[in-house]
Amino acid sequence: MIIASQKPLGEIMDMVEGAQKILILGCRGCVAVCSAGGDKEVRILASAVRLGRAKRGASVTIDEDTLVRQCDPEYLEGLNDRAKEYDCVVSMACGVGVNFVAERCPDVKVMPALNTTFYGANLSSGEWKEMCEGCGACVLHLTGGLCPVARCAKSLSNGPCGGSQGGRCEIDKDVPCVWHLIYERLHKFKEADRLEAIMPMRDWRPAGHGGPRHRMREDLLP
C-alpha cells in the first residue's frame, strides 16, 4: 500500500491562499486505509482550513468530497466540469491521484494535501513501515523475502556492513539490520550459502533512474 501523510497545515494554507471556494477531495484508496486522505481526514482538513482562513481574517467556502479512487479515470468523470466552480481543488490522494487529477481535468487547479512517502505495511493501527521501494528488479528470492534495497540504509547487495551490531542498523537502534534478518532467515532455511555468492551490481533503470516507468498489458487494452 502507498503510505502518505498530511502536509503541515501552514504549507497547505499557503497553497490555497487567495482561493475563495475550495473543494477538498479525498480518496478511498490507500490513503484512506493509511488514514491520510479518507473521508475523516477530509473533514479534519476542511475544518482546519476554515480555522486557518478565519485566523487570517478572511472567509472561505469549502466543499468536501471523497472519490472511490483518484487513480482510475472512471471516478474522475465529470470532475473537470464540477470543479470549475472552485478556485482550487485540494486533493488528499497520493501523488498518483494528484497527478491524475491534474492530467485528466485540465481546468482544475489541483493542490496536494499529502506527502506521499513509501510502499509500506500496516504494523498496527497508526503505524506503517517501508517494505518496498519499487526498484523494479526484485531480489527477494535471494534474500529470504526481505528487501535489502528498501530496508538497508545503504541498499547493500552483499551482506551486512561493519555497522551492524546486535541485529540493529547503525543509523538507528530502532531499525533492524535487514541483512542480519536475511542472514538469520537464510540460515533457518539452510540457504546461508547464498550469502557467499557475490550479487552483481544492480541495474537501476527499472527503479526509475532510466526515466518514468510505464506498464502495459496488451490483452486488457481497450
Binding site: 547487495s157 551492524s164 547503525e170 538507528d172 542480519h180 551490481m201
Partner: protein, 1022 residues
C-alpha cells in the same frame, strides 16, 4: 606485481607492513595535509587518505592523497560508494591513477546520516564488494563497468578493502571478507582491534576458509588518547569492541597517552604472531604524532626504503627536493673540483715543461720559416725570369701568328660554313702549325721548369699550362698588359701554400682599390677612423704580410689617423700623419688632400662620420656588382651626397661659406640628374654599405694560433657536447638550412657552424597604416601589394627567404577573414621561389584558423608556419606534421617555457628538426639584453648541458620589433642624428647582437640593415 606501489612491494617482500591514516582537513588547507604527511613520512609504508569519514565533508581523498604523494608519502586512497555513482567513481579512479595513485581502498562508506549533511541523498549505486569487482575489471580486463573497453592505460591499482571482525553476525564476517577477496581485494585493513582474543578467533576462521594466503591482512590499531575516547569508542562507535581491561589500564595509568601508546604496541606485538597477519594499520586520527613512537617501540622502524615519484608536486616540496639535490650536487661538484684542481696542478707543471719545449721549437720553426722565405724569394726571382722568357717567346709567336690570323679572319668573314673554315685553317696553317708546335714545345719546357721550381703538382701544372695555351691561342696578339698581370695573380698564390696566403691576399686587393680611387673621397675624411686608430702598429712588418703589403696598409692607417685627427680638429696630429704617409707613398692622393685640408684647417662637420659610413667606399660597387654601370654609380653617389647635404643644411646652415657653395653646386647637379630613377640607384647604395663593412672585417686577421701564443688549447677550448638540429625551410634548390652548429655562435675554433645564419625579408600582407619614412621609401611602390613587395625583396635585394606577416588577420585590427589572408599568402608563395615563412598575427585562435587555411591552399610548397604557442600548438602542430612543415614555436622570453613547448610539440610527434624557437625578442633599448640573456642560456643548455629539448635553432623577428621603436620614427636631429642611418643601425645592431646570442634565422626589413648584417655574418664566418 599489480601496481608496483610501495605498499605492494613491501607486502610482497614478506616484510611486516605498516600503514597509517590521514584525515584530510575540513578546509582547503593544503598545509594541514602536508604536515600530517611529514609526521608519518618514513614511519609507514603508505597512508590511508580517508574519503569524507563519518560522512563529514572534507578535502577529497584524491586531492589530499596527491598532496601526500607530493610530500613523498604514498597514499592509499579511500573511496566510498556514498557520494558518487559508477560514472563519477570510475572517472575519479582514472584520474587518481593518472596522477600517480596506486593503492585504493574500497569502502561502502558511513551513512550520510552521521555526517554534517544528513539531508544529503546517499548514492550507494553499488556496495564495496561491487566496487572492488568493478575496479578489478577495469584493471585486469580493461573494461569499464558497462563492458566498454578501456583503450589504453587501465588503472593498475593495488586494491584494498575493510573488514570488521567485531560486527555482527560474527560467523558471517570471515565469509564477507572472503567475498571481498573474491571480488578483487589484494589487501585488507581491519577495524580497530582491542579485543585480540576475538580477533584471533576471527583470523582462525579466515585462515580455515583459505583466504589468508590470497590476501594481505593488516590489523587495524588505534592508540586511545584518553579514557573518554576509549569509553566513547566502546559505547558509541558501532562495530567497535573495547574490553573493560583496556579501559582499566587507561584509568590506572599516570600518563594516559603514554599508556595509550603502550596498549597499541602490546596489541601490535600480539597480532604479529597471529597467522595470516601481514601488517598493521595504525589509525591515530588527530594524533599523528603518536605514530612514529608506536612504530619505533613496536620495533618496526626503520621502514624499507621507498622511491616515491609524485606526478604533481607542490612548490614547497619541489624546493625541498631541489635543495636536497643541490646539496648532493654541490658536494659532488666540490669533490670533482678538488680532484680537478689537483689534476690541474699536476698538469700545470707538465704544461710549463711543454711550454719550454715548444718555445724552443717555435724558435727553430721561425728560423726555418725565414730560411724558406729566402728560398721563396729566390724562386720568385726565377719565376720572373722564366716569365720574361715565356713572354719573349709569346711575343715572338704572336708576331708570327698575326699574319696567319689575318688570313683566317678574312676567311671567316667570307665563309658561312664552319667546316670550310676549319679546313681552311688546317690547310693554310701548315707553316703556321710548325711554328706553333715549336712555340708550344718551348713553352712547355719553360713551364716544366716552372713546375720544378714551384713544386707544382700535376693538376696545378696542367691548369697553368692550359691557361697559358688558351691565353695564347685566343688572345694571341694582345700585347703585354694582360699577360704579365695574369701570371702574377695565378702564380703568386699557387706556390706558397694557398691557405696561408689567402687572407693577406684579399687585403692588398682592397687596399689597391682604396689607393686607386682616392679622388672620389675628396669631400670626406677616411672611413672608420676609430676602428683603424685603435689598431696602431709600429712599422716592422707583421707576420703574414709582405713588406709591400704592409707598406700600403701602413699608409692607409696613417691616412686614417690623419682623418681621425681632422675629425677631432687636431691639426698638428693630422698634418703629422699625412706627412708621414706621403713620405712613404708620395703619390697617395688621399694623403695629399688630407694634408691640404689639415693645413687649411678644414674640419669635417659633426654628423659626417655617420654618413661617411654609408658613403665613403663608393669605389667598390664595381667589384661587388660588375654590371654596375658608371652612370648609375655616379647617380647613387650623388644621391647619397644629397642626403648628406640636406641633413647638413638642416642642422648647421651657418657652416663655412666656401663649403656651402660647393654643396649647393652639387645639389643643383643632383637635381639636374634626377632623371636617374631612385629605385635603380638603391641596390647600389645597399652594396656600398656592404663593402664598407666588408672592409672592416677584411682587415688582417691574426690566426687563432698566433693570438693564443703558448697557451695550451685545453685551457681556453670548451667544446660543445651537443649540437643544434638542422631545420630545412623551403624546398628545391632554394631551400635554406639553418642550425647545425656544434659551437657557440661564430666560435669557429671550437666547433663547426655548417650553415651561416640566414636573413629573411619581412613582408606585410596588407598596406601598413604607418611605416617609418626611411623604410617606406624603399618599398613605397609595393606596400599595398604583398606579392610585388616580396618579389622586389627577392629580385632587387636578393632575399634568401621571405617572411609574410599576416598582420591583417588580427582580430583587434583589420580582422581580415582567414580565407582572404590565405589567398594572399598563396599568391605570394606562387610568386616567389625562395623559402616562405608565414607569421600569424599572434592571436592563437585566429592563427590556427588562418594557418590551416593557408596550408590547405599552399600544398606544393613547404612553408614555415608560426607562431605556435601553448594555446594552439596542438592544432597547428598537427597541421604542420600533416604537411611536413617546419614551425615556429613562440614563447615569452623564458627558458623553461621554450623547453616546455618543444617537449609538448615532441610529444605531439614533431621532431626538433622541424622546430624553430622564437624566444620573443626586443630591439636595442627595448629589452635586447633580456632576450640576449635568455637566448644565451638556452643555447648554453643546448650545447653544453645536453639539454636536447632545447637543441632547436632560433628564429628572431627583428624587423617587426625594430620598426615599431620610436627611434625609427623621430626625424633627423642633432642629438639623434640622421633618421635613416639611425634606423638602419638599430635594426642591424639588434640583428647582429641576436646572431651573437645564437640566432640562426632573422627576419628583417631594411635592405641596408640586411646588407650590414650579412656583411657581419660574412666577417665572422670568414
Amino acid at each position: 606485481m599489480i601496481s608496483g606501489s610501495n605498499l605492494e612491494k613491501v607486502l610482497r617482500s614478506g616484510e611486516f607492513a605498516v600503514t597509517g591514516e590521514l584525515g584530510p582537513p575540513k578546509s582547503g588547507a593544503m598545509d594541514v595535509v602536508r604536515k600530517k604527511a611529514q609526521i608519518l613520512k618514513r614511519y609507514v609504508d603508505a597512508v590511508n587518505i580517508t574519503d569524507c569519514q563519518t560522512a563529514i565533508v572534507r578535502m577529497s581523498s584524491l586531492t589530499a592523497g596527491l598532496i601526500a604523494l607530493s610530500e613523498g608519502v604514498e597514499p592509499v586512497m579511500q573511496m566510498t560508494c556514498r557520494d558518487r555513482n559508477r560514472i563519477g567513481m570510475q572517472a575519479d579512479i582514472l584520474g587518481a591513477y593518472a596522477l600517480g595513485i596506486r593503492n585504493l581502498l574500497c569502502l561502502t562508506g558511513d551513512h550520510q546520516k552521521f555526517g554534517n549533511h544528513p539531508e544529503a541523498k546517499g548514492v550507494f549505486d553499488m556496495d564495496s564488494i561491487q566496487l572492488l569487482q568493478m575496479i578489478r575489471r577495469m584493471r585486469d580486463e580493461k573494461r569499464f563497468q558497462c563492458g566498454e573497453e578501456i583503450k589504453s592505460d587501465a588503472p593498475l591499482l593495488f586494491l584494498g578493502a575493510a573488514a570488521n571482525p567485531f560486527a555482527d553476525p560474527f560467523e558471517y564476517r570471515p565469509i564477507r571478507l572472503k567475498k571481498k577477496v573474491d571480488a578483487g581485494a589484494n589487501f585488507i585493513q581491519t577495524q580497530i582491534i582491542y579485543n585480540v582474543e576475538k580477533f584471533k578467533e576471527f583470523m582462525k576462521r579466515v585462515v580455515d576458509l583459505g583466504v589468508a594466503e590470497r590476501v594481505f591482512i593488516l590489523a587495524g590499531v588505534t592508540p586511545p588518547k584518553s579514557v573518554g575516547m576509549a569509553r566513547y569508542m566502546k559505547n558509541f562507535v558501532p562495530g567497535l569492541d573495547v574490553p573493560d581491561e583496556v579501559l582499566k589500564r587507561l584509568k590506572d595509568a599516570k600518563d594516559v597517552r603514554e599508556e595509550g601508546i603502550n596498549i597499541v604496541v602490546d596489541i601490535i606485538n600480539e597480532v604479529r604472531e597471529i597467522e595470516g597477519i601481514a601488517g598493521v594499520h595504525v589509525m591515530a586520527i588527530e594524533w599523528e604524532e603518536a605514530v612514529p613512537e608506536i612504530v619505533k617501540r613496536a620495533g618496526l622502524y626503520p621502514r624499507p626504503e621507498q622511491a616515491i615519484e609524485p606526478v604533481l608536486m607542490s612548490n614547497a616540496s619541489i624546493e625541498e627536493a631541489t635543495d636536497k639535490v643541490r646539496e648532493e650536487v654541490e658536494a659532488r661538484l666540490k669533490k670533482e673540483i678538488e680532484d680537478a684542481k689537483r689534476e690541474a696542478e699536476a698538469s700545470r707543471a707538465l704544461v710549463l715543461k711543454e711550454q719550454e719545449r715548444s718555445s724552443s721549437k717555435i724558435k727553430e720553426l721561425n728560423a726555418s720559416i725565414s730560411e724558406k722565405d729566402k728560398i721563396i724569394a729566390q724562386k720568385e726571382e726565377r719565376i720572373n725570369q722564366l716569365l720574361k722568357a715565356i713572354e719573349a717567346e709569346k711575343a715572338r709567336l704572336s708576331e708570327l701568328r698575326e699574319s696567319k690570323a689575318q688570313v683566317i679572319s678574312r676567311e671567316v668573314m667570307s665563309s658561312d660554313d664552319v667546316t670550310t673554315q676549319e679546313t681552311l685553317m688546317m690547310e693554310d696553317g701548315e707553316v703556321y702549325k710548325k711554328q706553333l708546335d715549336f712555340a708550344l714545345n718551348s713553352m712547355e719546357l719553360g713551364l716544366n721548369a716552372l713546375k720544378n721550381v714551384l713544386g707544382l703538382n700535376d693538376d696545378a701544372y696542367e691548369a697553368l699550362k692550359r691557361f697559358i695555351e688558351a691565353e695564347f691561342v685566343l688572345k694571341g696578339g694582345v700585347s703585354g698588359e694582360v699577360i704579365p698581370k695574369r701570371p702574377e695573380t695565378v702564380v703568386e698564390p699557387a706556390p706558397v701554400a694557398k691557405k696561408v696566403e689567402e687572407k693577406p691576399e684579399k687585403a692588398p686587393q682592397i687596399e689597391e682599390t682604396e689607393a686607386r680611387e682616392p679622388a672620389k673621397a675628396v669631400e670626406e675624411p677616411q672611413v672608420e677612423p676609430s676602428k683603424e686608430a685603435t689598431e696602431a702598429h709600429i712599422p716592422p712588418t707583421p707576420d703574414g704580410l709582405s713588406e709591400e703589403e704592409w707598406r700600403v696598409k701602413y699608409v692607409i692607417r696613417l691616412v686614417a689617423r690623419g682623418n681621425c685627427a681632422l675629425y677631432e680638429k687636431d691639426q698638428d696630429e693630422a698634418i703629422k700623419a699625412f706627412e708621414e704617409a706621403l713620405s712613404i707613398d708620395p703619390d697617395n692622393e688621399k694623403a695629399k688632400i688630407g694634408l691640404e685640408r689639415a693645413k687649411k684647417g678644414e674640419f669635417p662637420r659633426f654628423e659626417q662620420p655617420r654618413d661617411v659610413e654609408e658613403e665613403s667606399p663608393e669605389g667598390e660597387p664595381s667589384k661587388e656588382e660588375p654590371s654596375g654601370e658608371p652612370e648609375e654609380e655616379k647617380g647613387a653617389k650623388e644621391e647619397v651626397e644629397e642626403v648628406t647635404v640636406k641633413a647638413a643644411e638642416e642642422v648647421k646652415e651657418e657652416e663655412v661659406k666656401e663649403k656651402e657653395e660647393k654643396e649647393t653646386e652639387e645639389a643643383v647637379e643632383v637635381k639636374e640628374e634626377a632623371a636617374i630613377p631612385e629605385k635603380k640607384a638603391e641596390p647600389t647604395k645597399v652594396e656600398e654599405i656592404k663593402v664598407g663593412v666588408e672592409f672592416l672585417f677584411n682587415t688582417p686577421k691574426l690566426p687563432l694560433k698566433d693570438r693564443i701564443g703558448d697557451i695550451p688549447e685545453d685551457i681556453f677550448m670548451e667544446k660543445a657536447t651537443g649540437s643544434i638540429r638542422e631545420v630545412v625551410i623551403g624546398d628545391g634548390a632554394k631551400a635554406i638550412t639553418v642550425g647545425g652548429s656544434s659551437a657557440l655562435p661564430f666560435y669557429l675554433f671550437e666547433g663547426s657552424m655548417p650553415h651561416a645564419p640566414k636573413i629573411a625579408y619581412d613582408v606585410l600582407d596588407c598596406e601598413p597604416e604607418e611605416m617609418p619614412e626611411p623604410l617606406k621609401k624603399y618599398f613605397d611602390d609595393c606596400l599595398s601589394d604583398p606579392v610585388k613587395w616580396a618579389q622586389k625583396c627577392v629580385s632587387e635585394y636578393g632575399a634568401e627567404a621571405i617572411c609574410l606577416s599576416l598582420v591583417s588577420t588580427d582580430p583587434n585590427g583589420m580582422n581580415r577573414a582567414s580565407s582572404e589572408a590565405a589567398k594572399v599568402a598563396k599568391d605570394v608563395a606562387d610568386a616567389i621561389d625562395c623559402p616562405l615563412i608565414l607569421w600569424g598575427c599572434g592571436n592563437a585562435e585566429k592563427d590556427t584558423e588562418t594557418l590551416r587555411e593557408v596550408t590547405a591552399l599552399i600544398t606544393d610548397k613547404k612553408v614555415c608556419i608560426g607562431p605556435l604557442t601553448d594555446a594552439n600548438y596542438r592544432n597547428l602542430g598537427a597541421t604542420a606534421m600533416a604537411f611536413g612543415l617546419p614551425v615556429i614555436a613562440a614563447t615569452p622570453i623564458d627558458v623553461n617555457l621554450a623547453k616546455q613547448l618543444n617537449i609538448l610539440l615532441e610529444n605531439l610527434g614533431m621532431g626538433l628538426d622541424h622546430i624553430l624557437m622564437d624566444p620573443s625578442i626586443g630591439a636595442v633599448g627595448y629589452g635586447l639584453e633580456y632576450t640576449y640573456s635568455v637566448m644565451e642560456r638556452i643555447r648554453l643548455a643546448a650545447l653544453m648541458q645536453q639539454d636536447d629539448k632545447l637543441q632547436a635553432p632560433f628564429i628572431c623577428n627583428v624587423g617587426r620589433e625594430v620598426w615599431k621603436a620610436k627611434e625609427t620614427r623621430l626625424e633627423s636631429d642633432a642629438l639623434l642624428g640622421n633618421q635613416e642611418v639611425r634606423s638602419i643601425l638599430l635594426e642591424a645592431i639588434t640583428a647582429s647582437t641576436l646572431l651573437l646570442a645564437g640566432g640562426e634565422l632573422v627576419i628583417m626589413r631594411h635592405p641596408k640593415a640586411v646588407a650590414l648584417t650579412e656583411a657581419t655574418i660574412r666577417g665572422f664566418t670568414g
